[in-house]
Amino acid sequence: MFLRFSQILLIYFLLFSYVESAESGGMPQLNPEFWFSQIFWLIITFGIMFILLSKLVLPKISENLEVRKAQISENIEAAEKQREESDKKLKEYDELILNSKNEAKDHFNKAREKILKDVDKKRESLEKEINEEINKAEKEILELKNRSPEKIKKIAAETSSDLIKKLIGVEVNNSSISAIVEDVTRKTN
């Protein structure tokens, strides 16, 4: 597209240059009067510029660019290193926390077991004591139970012999009274 446009421009310029050349005697570009001067000064100016640029200026610019590149890559490297370090530290920190958590759990479990054991021991001993006491009491109760009818009989026999003595004034044979008492108790039972 640009080529087409420049062609149009060329046609324009040819037209106008033709028109103007009629009045002012040709294009100045085609007048060889100053050609050598232009070539000479072109070589001098361009040559000096080229030499100064290539010897002094361009190496400096490329050095600047390289220094910057190196600095940037260095910084990136340093940043990466630091990131790795921080990752490591984070891992260490995580591990530390995990370990301490586990330790705390262990401690807790141990303490619980100990307490449970103690409680069990105490309960067992208490149960033993209680059982013993219960047994003792039961035995006593049983003894008392077993003994009570005989006592009653005895008391009954004594009281009845006393009563008879007071009432009649006769000594009664103990054995006969106790036989009667037994009789009575059997009946009442």
Partner: protein, 239 residues
């Protein structure tokens, strides 16, 4: 065509029969090359990690040209970087200084562009022969062409190769000259049509100024990139 006139500034300098006087064309060559030197010297003086404006300009141009060269001619073209950079900057600054009113456009003279193009042509040809010896002539014999067509193709290739300096120089010269002539013509219309009808060509003139600045950059770029392409032919023989 007054704007393209070359006239003497200062005394007449003659060496033998040859007139080497300092002219307005020489003046603008000096101004352009000085401007390039000053800008890039300022841009490379201080090396701050974060570049200031002028350093940024210098470094962006540097990377722009170096990318252009490595894209078109490969890594072998690195030794020619400073030449192509100078060429691009010289043509660009000459074109741009030509956009200032009453300034002289160095590149609107066929002799200047032709000398540059001829220098490039001979330089590239010499580089090609140094790198490949007589094998550089294979450039004119494309591979995969039927034998019957070969003589014709070779003739065409040789002609196109020989016309390179002409096309390279005429492209730049014609673009610059045509643009400036167009602007002059539209400027003349503004005067001749007066206050009533002069507004339309004035608008055109303004638009053309923008276009011409674009053309000034683009032609410098085209000039440099064509140099790179010719250099690529000489360095990496593909045919």
């Amino acid at each position: 065509m007054y704007q393209f006139n070359v006239y003497r500034i200062g005394p007449e300098i003659k060496i033998g029969e040859v007139d080497l006087s300092f002219t307005n064309a020489s003046l603008f060559m000096v101004i352009s090359s000085l401007a390039v030197l000053v800008i890039f010297n300022l841009g490379s003086k201080k090396n701050s990690l974060i570049p200031n404006k002028i350093q940024l300009i210098a470094e962006l141009s540097y990377t722009f040209v170096s990318k252009m060269i490595s894209d078109t001619a490969g890594s072998k073209a690195k030794p020619y970087f400073s030449f192509i950079f100078s060429l691009f900057m010289f043509v660009l600054f000459c074109n741009m200084f030509g956009m200032i009113p009453y300034a002289f456009t160095v590149t609107s003279h066929i002799i200047v562009t032709f000398v540059l193009a001829a220098f490039i042509f001979f330089g590239v040809t010499i580089i090609g022969f140094i790198k490949h010896g007589l094998g550089y002539l294979k450039l004119f014999v494309p591979s995969g062409v039927p034998v019957v067509l070969l003589p014709l193709i070779v003739v065409i290739e040789v002609i196109s190769y020989l016309s390179r300096p002409v096309s390279l120089s005429v492209r730049l010269f014609a673009n610059m000259m045509a643009g400036h002539t167009m602007m002059k013509v539209f400027g003349g219309f503004v005067i001749s049509l007066g206050i009533v009808g002069g507004w339309l060509p004035l608008g055109f003139s303004v638009a053309l100024t923008g276009l011409e600045i674009l053309v000034a950059f683009l032609q410098a770029y085209v000039f440099a990139i064509l140099t790179c392409i010719y250099l690529n032919d000489a360095l990496n023989l593909h045919h």
